[in-house]
Subunit: 203 residues, 4 copies
């Protein structure tokens, strides 16, 4: 692949989540063999996605709507405004929404705070979250809904620290998603931490 144009496109694709160098080249060859019109449509589709998508100014979720400031969940009067669930990213938001059991507001943090990071503020939307807390009238509980891996746990701890004075002041409770056995967990192969949580949280 000696053309600069092909290599540059392959480099773009190699940045896509989960795509390595080899597959990025296959993408390029795949596109090379397509009709020019297909490429034009794809390119326009890429340029257009942000056009009709807005990022909610309250919860930072991407939503369908041109020029609108607030997403449907944030404006829906049926949304339970006593709850605010903090998720890492849009895909987590969608997974939770799809489960159908949570009916409150959300806040998309925009990432996790890496354990080793010294610039947590620049990585995630801390200031925006604090502002959202203060703006949500009637808020009683913030639910930290982060994946159960080292960065997720670190972010949970970090958020509890950073938010503590604000939540104390406003009388808001901070909770985290429950821990224990998840679908498919086999006791025999479980780590001590999962078994401890499962025992502690038995019911």
């Amino acid at each position: 692949m000696h053309s600069d144009a092909l290599l540059r496109l392959a480099e773009y694709f190699a940045e896509f989540p989960g795509i390595g160098e080899r597959q990025s080249k296959r993408f390029v060859y795949f596109l090379l063999s397509k009709h020019p019109e297909y490429l034009r449509d794809l390119a326009h589709s890429i340029m257009d996605i942000q056009k009709n998508i807005s990022r909610c100014e309250l919860c930072y979720h991407f939503f369908s709507g041109r020029g609108e400031k607030l997403c449907e969940t944030c404006t829906n009067p049926a949304t339970d405004t006593t709850l605010l669930m903090v998720v890492e990213k849009d895909a987590d938001y969608e997974a939770m929404k799809k489960s159908g059991m949570y009916l409150g507001r959300y806040f998309v943090l925009g990432g996790l705070v890496p354990i080793t990071s010294k610039e947590a503020h620049s990585r995630v939307r801390i200031d925006e979250l604090v502002r959202a807390l203060k703006q949500q009238a009637g808020l009683k509980e913030i639910i930290l809904a982060l994946s159960l891996n080292p960065h997720g746990e670190h972010t949970d701890t970090y958020l509890r620290e950073v938010l503590s004075s604000t939540t104390r002041e406003l009388g808001i409770t901070i909770t985290s998603l429950g821990r224990g056995l998840s679908t498919g967990t086999e006791l025999e192969y479980s780590d001590t931490s999962t078994l401890k949580n499962a025992f502690k949280n038995r019911q």
Copy 2:
């Protein structure tokens, strides 16, 4: 492999957990090339395992000890006799024991009740469990500690039904291990059931 003796041994190995036909043959060739003394030692080791191992008459756990009736956990005065944890098999018992946070008694059920089974009694130690409940003075809580898969969940439901009259009579509470996020759970890829449990059991 045209010798009947080899094929018969390969068939034995093919019954071992997780071993297929091909690997069972590799085991046979592996043993064929060993010194006769090695084979004799291995064979004796196999015949001997049950000699110095007893199955506890109370909890049905295998333990080291010749001719003894009760295992160390069942006889240890430090064991918390207000609790009884029901596990499927010895490996689960060991995993839980190793985690170090549970200090009560155990009961090894000897299997799970398959969803489709009509002979649950013959599959697991129900009668023995009921008897164990009645014999354990001061018992306050039975903890069902089963893997979170369809058979495990079915067994949980089944045990709660079968034990209900006895536990009501004796004033014993039935609990199950807590459910939610386990180590490594990514929200984005979680099923609805795990998310529901994690939300319901937030804290």
Copy 3:
């Protein structure tokens, strides 16, 4: 993901080689969070790939060059014109080129002939291949270099049939890549066909 624009883009990505529905959505979210300028650059990069890339009119390989008709290999006087290697696709061409041991011409077939196909002609460049054979002065040997899977083997057989009268007429030999043990082949786990080829082609 309820926006039509997002879903349409996700559908595009789901057509990419090796990409499923879930990953295609991750691509979309990945792009959503990028700066508009990044999207514009990527889109232009996609539209541009064919601009500076030509498909060689002789061998059908994509190559770097605007408006040129023949690729470097086809025009290079050092290329051995007594040989013509038929490959399925550009990636195979590149793998072979990179190995550095073949110095003749190539022909990119554009696909394989599926075993069940009744329209072989519309699937691969047969007519173009016959024409290339006739145009290549001094051609002595065509090397069928197809992957060793059912469709590849079927295509090999098909090409030998279709080309036989032309090659006989022009005095051209048809060969296929050698078969036997490839890097990593373990005898114990090899299929009969590989062992047969390896034995037959011993040297």
Copy 4:
């Protein structure tokens, strides 16, 4: 698993090909729960395998037969005694035999010569192989049939060196299994060595 007897048996199983520590313990629990008669039968089956199995004094293949010195292939008058195929182990012998296309004699080397080894002689049956060469009347060709991995290739080179004077003296040709594409080989993902062999050995 605190019983010495259990741990010792688990250690035996952990030596079995492809078995790790965890699975070896599962084997032990599996056997613990079996009927004593089952264990006795398994143990006898293990002790018995060598009883009715002999190792051929010519080719070192294990074969069914008590007290016999030569295997069926070595004694069968239909066996082609102009050929001798050197394989690493019994499983390779079986794979080759099963393919049905080779009808000559075999020699089981008993291992490969590791690249870094300085004691090749103690690892594989070199002296026995030289003796077998000399004893096989009418032998014309030795086929080195070793897996195509670094140790296999090293052993191939090593054998050619060690055997060269004997084979030259006796007028015996040394060949190796053919190399090229094996079943399933995709050109795009092939290493240079496989492509080189496939091109060189085209036909």
